[in-house]
Symmetry: C2
Subunit: 512 residues, 2 copies
């Protein structure tokens, strides 16, 4: 990319102007989070009226235009791919089957699906609010280097930051408009180069489309849409912006229900209509059209046996799930891995169009299993040799795993691990992003330096699952739904500056 | 008004639902303030990224519809009245002349005006963003009680809360829409009864009209509008919402300049064009079309001699002032007093239309001087007799005075005060508001109980001052610009719960 002077050095007065405008704009527009307990203790603000500017970058990060546009352009194909995977129960069963021994969480999700299947699903529609996450990969070849987009992961449940990403792109645009960025940068940092993320509107439209597709309801009660949430949720404004858009633009009634309280406030009618009685107005009962999970994606959300009963209860219901359990499972790393294993036959099963499939394939970083398959043998060689291991990362198959092992730490790590445990990991080629700089405001502190950016592209997809042997379902709606840029200090691999998610950011597109 | 059960008692769950929605909505929409130092110490958040829900009422307060509508209807007449007063320099001189011995601040403002006048004003246009503040007065007569609106004061400078009042009325409307208010209240608390305040849009339109009326400028530089502000300003979001509306809807460039730094960053061209060079982008210089004072209204803002030089400097300039010094002075309590003195001849001087004048007159609470005039003699008798004093409040003439003396404390207070100091006070009939209840969220605490509400009606007025002997100027634009309801605990008279300004609120109109 070659813009070593970006972002610009600011004088004291320039930085003061930028920061005071950033801090006021962010709060005035809800680009905010509830403060971390390390910043404001609960005892200081027991009723929770304080908020802070969300962690944000001071400048939009530079991002190669061709990569950005490719990511946006292929999102509809990704929607179709993951919709198709979640409709292919037989295929999923085989993939998931390999995990059930090593991942209790995935196993339990699968059993929950089977339990519903026994009684029969009563809702054929399924909604996905997806996010495909990428990094820019700089390929060094003899002929020079080239940039491409490589997928980090594909989220099929609780894809977050759609609310804040619209806001941060608007904020960077505002800051540019009030000359908070030095004129010396105007050849790079200009209005035409900034990309607004329409994710709030677009994700809200997705939920509204599902709500409408549900139809008039069977219970003669007013309809509502449920956000199933974690409690407490520091990132609540991110979700609220989508709720407000749903209410203001579509008149859809929404409620937030902590996952752990699901069984207290909802019940299934005899025809499996999902009914919700808000504790705040117990005389009213609503028919739930759509269950939007912003919780339930991590084993940590299931703290008691009732939480699994709650998930089953919702899956059984007539409400449209965003996502269904099959769609949740389609987002397993294992699925990403089998698609991205070199010479994998799977992609063309779901995307028969070779041209479309090849565009997605180009965004896969090679991923190997560590099992007894042919690819697994190859992987074991790559992983145990320090020279080749230096280009890889070892990740647990388990969802929400953390604890990745990087590069030259891989061979000694595997040496200590019994080989029977090796299949619990996958080996992924490291994505090598080009060097970038930015400054992050986080909990009131500014951190400047090298950063790594992750582009997330949102996708909305509503489909019919299809029933019976021959019906394979169909896509009802599918669109690309805006983007997120998420930026963290480049030291985080070694456990440096950016704990947590870093900062929300937006793209300043550059050629190259 | 007779709604003793308002606001409703909430169950624990109902209150939790109301509060969680209120707290999230307020931050997501910038209904916020920077936290008080007693709540968050500066050392905890040195860079100032924290904000808190602004003090708000949980429910919109009941307000008599006829009073509300009358207040809105007469705002244009009030705009005209105060525009006419500020154009009548001779009359103002006589009024202000009586104050100059007792009020240094007013005296200094007047001298500043005279100094500019010596050189001649170069800007004929003048902008007022006014707010006329009222309380509902319950008149007890033999034939029963009746309700009327009585003016508390008329603000001609730095009329605040136009930003937050639009937001709080939208929030109460939102809370009603999500059934956060019990259905049992639906005969009173219903959509038709809530009044949205359009003050953000309408005040921004006022500033935009002045900006445009300024014309193309003389300096060939880009144009801007200056907000002259206090620093630090906890109520910054209130002002920011107007700034953002100006930028988004009108494309007007605005800057915030702390009053105390005026001379550092502005200068007058030889033709008295006001030029501003933002410290954050020192290579750019702007021509200022309009100076909007959100500071400079209180003696406390003038901490050094340069601050007076700054006020003079701006007054001299070609920029349109919001307000000019004459308009600032027209807002003196003394002016309100002479208009409201029983049998005053002044009102008809400015409002020749008898019907219009009588509507305004009906909103005056009788105010007496404590001087040697006939009305003054009458006042002295009323004030020294404990029986009659019980219906009055004694207020210092000085602006921003505080330290009012109420009811039966007046006679002993005056007894100790040398009679030569008596003319520094005015005697005002107490406004007796009907009993009302509400709950206020403030710094995370809820205070419930009796409250007092103050209705503020905003007005925008742009006029030509007129020059020469015969030209008396003319009004260019005038409109009513939304409203504020400000509510505090009814104990505040005795120094009880609600220090500061209480809470922002909105109206739920009721008959009666």
């Amino acid at each position: 990319m070659g813009h070593p002077k970006y972002p610009p050095q600011l004088s004291h007065d320039e930085e003061a102007y930028l920061l005071s405008n950033l801090k006021d704009w962010s709060i005035a527009h809800g680009l905010a989070v509830r403060p971390a307990p390390s910043f404001v203790q609960q005892s200081q603000d027991p009723s929770g009226v304080l908020a802070a500017t969300a962690p944000v970058t001071l400048f939009p990060s530079l991002f190669p235009k061709s990569c950005f546009e490719e990511g946006m352009a292929i999102q509809k194909a990704y929607n179709e791919l993951y919709s198709a995977i979640s409709r292919d129960e037989e295929w999923l069963r085989d993939i998931i089957g390999e995990l059930t021994d090593v991942d209790d969480f995935v196993a339990r999700l699968w059993r929950t699906h089977l339990e519903v299947k026994k009684e029969g699903y009563v809702q054929d529609l399924s909604l996905g609010l997806f996010r495909s996450d990428y990094m820019v990969h700089q390929e060094h070849a003899k002929a020079g280097s080239s940039l491409g987009l490589k997928q980090v992961e594909f989220n099929t449940i609780a894809s977050s930051f759609g609310g804040l990403s619209s806001k941060v792109s608007a904020m960077h645009n505002y800051l540019l408009g009030i000359d908070a960025y030095p004129k010396s940068m105007s050849s790079i940092l200009k209005k035409d180069s900034l990309r607004q993320s329409k994710s709030i509107t677009s994700l809200a439209n997705g939920l509204a489309v599902a709500h409408k597709a549900y139809g008039a309801g069977l219970s003669n009660r007013p309809l509502c849409l449920l956000f199933i949430v974690q409690d407490p949720e520091r990132n609540v404004f991110d979700q609220r912006h989508i709720e407000y858009a749903l209410q203001e633009s579509h008149g859809v009634r929404t409620f937030r229900l902590p996952f752990g309280e699901t069984l207290l406030h909802t019940r299934l009618d005899s025809d499996r209509t999902l009914l919700y009685t808000p504790p705040g107005s117990p005389s009213m009962t609503y028919e739930v059209t759509t269950v939007y999970f912003r919780a339930g994606y991590s084993p940590d959300d299931y703290t008691k046996e009732e939480d699994w009963a709650a998930r089953l209860h919702m899956e059984k219901s007539r409400a449209i799930k965003c996502p269904s359990i099959l769609t949740h499972l389609a987002g397993c790393k294992k699925v990403q891995q089998v698609l991205a294993t070199p010479q994998s036959p799977h992609l063309k099963r779901f995307l028969p169009d070779a041209e479309v499939a090849s565009r997605l394939l180009a965004t896969f970083a090679p991923i190997y299993p560590l099992d007894d398959s042919e690819a697994g043998q190859q992987a074991r060689e790559l992983a145990t040799n320090p020279a080749s291991a230096a280009r890889y990362v070892l990740k647990p198959q388990r969802e929400g795993g953390g604890n990745n092992v990087y590069r030259k730490s891989i061979p000694p790590f595997l040496e200590k691990l019994p080989t029977t445990h090796w299949p619990a990991y996958i080996l992924m080629e490291m994505i090598e992003p080009p060097p970038l700089q930015n400054a992050i405001l986080r909990n009131g502190e500014i951190q400047s330096g090298g950063v790594i950016c992750e582009l997330g592209v949102y996708g909305v997809c509503l489909w019919r699952h299809g029933s019976g042997e021959e019906k394979k379902g169909e896509i009802v709606e599918s669109w690309e739904a805006g983007y997120l840029l998420r930026t963290k200090g480049d030291q985080s691999e070694e456990g440096g500056v950016a704990a947590g998610f870093g900062a929300v950011d937006s793209c300043c597109l550059v050629d190259g």
